[in-house]
Amino acid sequence: MIGLAVIRPVGEHENPHQTFTALSPPFNFKRSFSSRTAGFGIRLSLGAERHPVGDSGRTCYLIEHEREIDMSLPKAAMPADLSDALSVIDGLTGSRTDTTSMLFEGRMLGNLGTVPGTRFVQAGTASSVPWGSGGPATLPRGAIRLGSNILTASDLLNQLHDAAERSRVADVMQRFGLDRGNAANVLAARAYVWAQNYIPVNYRYWSKVPYSGPVNERVAAGVMRYERAHPGTAGLASRGDAAAIAAIDRIVDEAVAAAPAQIPLVVERTSAVSPTLSASSTRARTLLSIMGNQRWQAHHLVPFAVVAGLPVPVQQAIAASGWKMDSVGNLIALPANMATYVLPPNLTELPFHNGSQGVSYDNDVRNALGPLVARATALPPRL
């Protein structure tokens, strides 16, 4: 019989200053998308963020325009609302008509990053986007056929040139247990990151989808699942394909409609070994009494990914000990954003946490579990 009661990532929560960034990739900061004005060589970046002032938060829209080099407006010069933001863009495009055309009528849902040489099949209904002959064919070694192109998982991963995006995609794959060797899974992870970033700033959705929090996550998870079943949908949507956009519309509407005034982040991670080793954000948030409180997130001290990566006999022994993934002893409520991190009641004591924690945190916990794993693997096999 072994137990995990004494396992606690020592030091991680005793000094928030040291773990601040390890636990808190700042997913909830500004989301932005870019569009390039033809012929002007000026990149416009329209961003929107929840300005973290006060507990209730105040939504404001910020605009910054950049040249090829990183040149931001001073914060004081940033317009305080969308109307002002559009006026700034008008000054660059010449007219509101041009601004609207550039930003909205192109129906771009964001820049997913294109798949070179891939011609996505157009038209059809969103739920049955045709994929050449016979749908998205699954090929050996996790490859898929999209239209006339065959894509492997490594092709798709290699296209992620941006380090931050690569890191996020890797996090998503780990968090949801997606197979890195499967192209559809890689596309799904990319779609999650895309949805989390671009949908909240797209004009179609920005009144519905926040820049972080449960609704944002739910939408991203919905897009991810859809992309996994219908690879390429996000890519089509980002190019203005009507059917794909309709599919995204439906996912967003369902995610928002399913949300009461405030909904919990619903992330279910199912253990292949024991139900007690599965993680449910609903259960975790209920245990921590933060259902509906989007300023806090449930953090598993021993994360699902770490336990799921242990040898099966060790997982069996852990489950047999009575330890549960979703239990008060393995959970802590952490601030979900910077404002909650800084303001009372937290006053910077607990680190902020948004989305899955960093790889370094998981590694620390994995190392802390080392002696336990060694002991457990020395036990006779359970019959």
């Binding site: 001073p74 802590i332 009641p345 910077t348």
Partner: protein, 210 residues
């Protein structure tokens, strides 16, 4: 009057907005290596490699694992030897104006326990120390999402060991009013001096005025 030093919201936003574009969401290129040797004061301590290409970056104080302070803030704090130590930062990859700010990391050596455990919110807990012995000690109550901030009361007649120090049992850095006054007079950016005792009572962030 006892203050705690906190990163300001503006400072947090400014730093992590830039960091969001980078790998590991950090402007420290070798963050993992730095993290592994942070507690070392010897030659094996890895120098952080800072990469801030935005020449307008001008925070005097920011945290990303380590506490980074500008030369201007170092001068403003005017701390005597032994209270803190400063360690070099490799800023070769930063824009020239950022390099000119002379960033170093700061390690705080002093630790003290100003909390009045009778009147602050907390409890005695049993735990196992690093040597495997069972020990009992008072632990400050953690913040809870749906509750007011745990009450913080400083001991009567408490005398800080230095102008800046770690507050035992918390993640806070304590600072005297003298230090806060000097730093604010220098118009240092990126940090606030917070009255956590008053903040806990009022539910609002109470900071020393600028």
């Amino acid at each position: 009057m006892l203050w705690t030093i906190q990163q300001s919201l503006d400072g947090l936003e400014r730093y992590f907005k830039l960091a969001e574009r980078e790998a590991n969401f950090s402007l420290i290129r070798n963050k993992d290596e730095v993290r592994e040797t942070r507690t070392s004061s010897g030659p094996d301590r890895v120098t952080p490699v800072l990469q801030i290409r935005d020449s307008s970056f001008s925070l005097d104080f920011f945290e990303d694992g380590d506490i980074f302070v500008s030369r201007r803030l170092v001068d403003a704090m005017a701390l005597p030897d032994g209270v803190v130590s400063f360690h070099p930062v490799d800023t070769a990859r930063c824009a020239s104006p950022v390099q000119a700010r002379g960033y170093v990391t700061m390690t705080i050596h002093m630790e003290s326990d100003p909390l009045d455990t009778k009147h602050s919110d907390g409890r005695m807990v049993e735990m196992t120390d690093a040597d495997g012995f069972s020990v009992t000690r008072w632990e400050k109550q953690s913040p809870q999402p749906n509750s007011p901030a745990p009450r913080v009361v400083w001991r009567n007649g408490y005398a800080p060991p230095a102008d800046i120090f770690r507050i035992s049992g918390t993640g806070w850095t304590g600072a005297t009013d003298d230090l806060a006054t000097r730093v604010i007079a220098a118009r240092a950016t990126g940090l606030n001096f917070v009255d956590v005792a008053a903040s806990a009572v009022t539910g609002e962030l109470v900071v020393k005025g600028r």
